[in-house]
Amino acid sequence: MTKEAVSIRDLNYSYPDGTVALEDINITIEEGERIAIIGQNGAGKTTLFLHLNGTIKSCDNNVVIFGKDIGQMKSKERIEKVGVVFQDPDDQLFMPTIFDDVAFGPINMGLDEDEVERRVRSALATVGLTGFEDRVPHHLSYGQKKRAALAAVLSMEPRILVLDEPTANLDPMNRASLIELINDLNRDKGITTIVAMHDVNAVSQLADRIYVLNKRMVAEGPPTEIFMDFDLLRENNLDAPDVFKLFSVLSCFGFNCESLPLSINEAVEVLTKTIEGDEKHVHLHIHEHTHEDLEVLMHRYDHHHG
C-alpha cells in the first residue's frame, strides 16, 4: 500500500483583511503521485502551497504530511518534507552566488559543511548547472534562473516537490527540459510532485491527476475527465489543451476514439491505434449533425462569452 503524502482536511484560510482565500479544502495525495492544481489567478494556489510546507500555519492541525501534522514539525523536518519552488525565480535567488543560494536551505537545516557542499553539487548536477557555483544568480538567463531556483529547493532533498508555474515564460527548449527533469525526479527518486499551472497544453505532461481550485476545490480527476467538462472549464475560466480541442473537432467529423489525447505524443498514439484497429483506415466525413455539433463545440470553447 502506498503512503499518504499529503492529507488536508477542511482547511479554511482568510487574509488578514478578511477576504476568503481558501474554503473547505480537502485533498489526499498518495506518495509518488503527479498532481496538477489548476485555477485562474487569485484562486488561492500560492496560499495553499504556503500551507503545504507550513510557511502559513493553520490553527486546526488539518495539514498532515506523511501522517504527521505539519504544525507540530520543527523547521528542519518541515522543509525536508516539502519543498516549494515559487514562480518568479528573482524572488528566490537573493544570494551573491549560485552556491550560496543552493546552500541556503541546507545551512538553515543545520547540516555540516561537507554535507552542504555535497548537496549543492548534487542539486546543481540534477538541474544541469554544474560549474555555475560562483556565478551571480542575477546575471543568469531566465531559464537558468528557473533551474537554479529549483536546485535551491532540491538541495533540501524534499520528499514532496511543489512547483508554482514551473514552465511559465520559458522557451520551448527550457520548457521541455524542465518538464523532463520534474518527471525524472518523480520516476527515479519517487518524489511526489505537485504543480500549479496555467499552461493547460503542458498539464498532461506533468500530472496524472488534476485538482481544480477556485478558493474551493471545485473538481478533481484525471486530465481527460477534467477537460471534458465544458461547464467546469467555463465557470473557472480555464482552457482545454489545443490537441484535446482538436480531437473534439475531429469527433464531429466522425472520428471515434476511446479517450481524447492531451498532447501531440498521445495524439500520434491514439491516431495510430484507432486507425490500425479500424482496418487500417478511418473515414472523416460530414454527417447530418456535423455542422451543428461543430457550432456548439466552438461556442463552448470560445472564451469571449464567458
Partner: protein, 208 residues
C-alpha cells in the same frame, strides 16, 4: 530615531528647516551636473522606495526590535541625491506611518541626511586608499549611525537642558543599532559590488 512633532523648540525647528532647504537646493543642483534631474527622478524615486521599504525591516535586538536606518548606505548608493531621497523617505514615514513628524522634517532630514552625505565622501576617499569595499561599507554604516546620534543629541540639548539625560540614554540605546547597521551595510555593499557594481560611486573596472 525620528523626532515627533511637539518635542523641539521653535528656534531648533526653524534652524533645521533652513539647513535642510539649503542642502536640498544645493544637492539637487549638484545632482544635475551630468544629467538633468528630470531624467533621474524616476530611478531616484523608485530607489527611494526601496530604501523606504528596507527601513521597515525589523531586526530584533535583545528584547526589543529596531528598524534598519540605512542612511549611510543611502549616501553611498545615491551620492548627493541621497539628501532629497532622505527628505522624501522621511516625509513618507511621517505621513504614512507616523514615524517622526511634519514640523520636524527639516531637523530629521538633517540628522539622517548629513551623515549620509559624509558617508558618501568617506566611501569615495576610502576607496582611493584601497580599503576593502565591505569594510568601507561597514564603516559608513557605523559612522552614519554615530553621526546621526550625535546630531540627535545636539538637537535635543539645544532645545532644552531638560533633554540632557534623554540624549545620553538615546546615545547608549543606539550602540547595538550602530553594530547592526555596520554589518548590514557592509553586506549590502559587498552584494552590490558583486551583482551591480555601477550602483557604487567607484569605478571597479580594474578591480573586478
Amino acid at each position: 530615531m525620528h523626532i515627533s512633532d511637539g518635542v523641539l523648540s521653535l528656534p531648533v525647528v526653524a534652524a533645521g528647516w533652513i539647513i535642510t532647504v539649503a542642502l536640498l537646493v544645493i544637492t539637487l543642483r549638484w545632482g544635475e551636473r551630468d544629467k538633468s534631474i528630470a531624467e533621474q527622478i524616476p530611478k531616484l524615486s523608485i530607489m527611494t522606495g526601496a530604501f523606504f521599504v528596507a527601513s521597515l525591516i525589523h531586526v530584533s535586538v535583545g528584547p526589543t526590535s529596531v528598524h534598519l536606518i540605512l542612511n549611510g548606505l543611502l549616501g553611498v548608493v545615491l551620492g548627493v541625491l541621497s539628501y532629497p531621497a532622505m527628505f522624501i523617505g522621511l516625509t513618507l514615514q511621517a505621513l504614512l506611518f507616523q514615524h517622526g513628524g511634519l514640523t520636524v522634517l527639516g531637523v530629521n532630514t538633517m540628522i539622517m541626511g548629513v551623515p549620509g552625505l559624509i558617508s558618501y565622501a568617506v566611501f569615495k576617499t576610502g576607496y582611493k586608499r584601497n580599503i576593502s569595499l565591505t569594510a568601507l561599507g561597514a564603516l559608513c554604516g557605523a559612522l552614519a549611525t554615530v553621526l546621526a546620534v550625535i546630531l540627535l543629541a545636539v538637537v535635543l540639548v539645544t532645545t532644552g537642558e531638560e533633554f540632557v539625560a534623554v540624549a545620553k540614554l538615546a546615545a547608549v540605546a543606539h550602540v547595538p543599532i550602530m553594530i547592526v547597521e555596520a554589518i548590514v551595510t557592509g553586506f549590502v555593499v559587498a552584494y552590490l559590488a558583486k551583482v551591480k557594481p555601477e550602483l557604487l560611486p567607484v569605478d571597479l573596472g580594474d578591480k573586478r
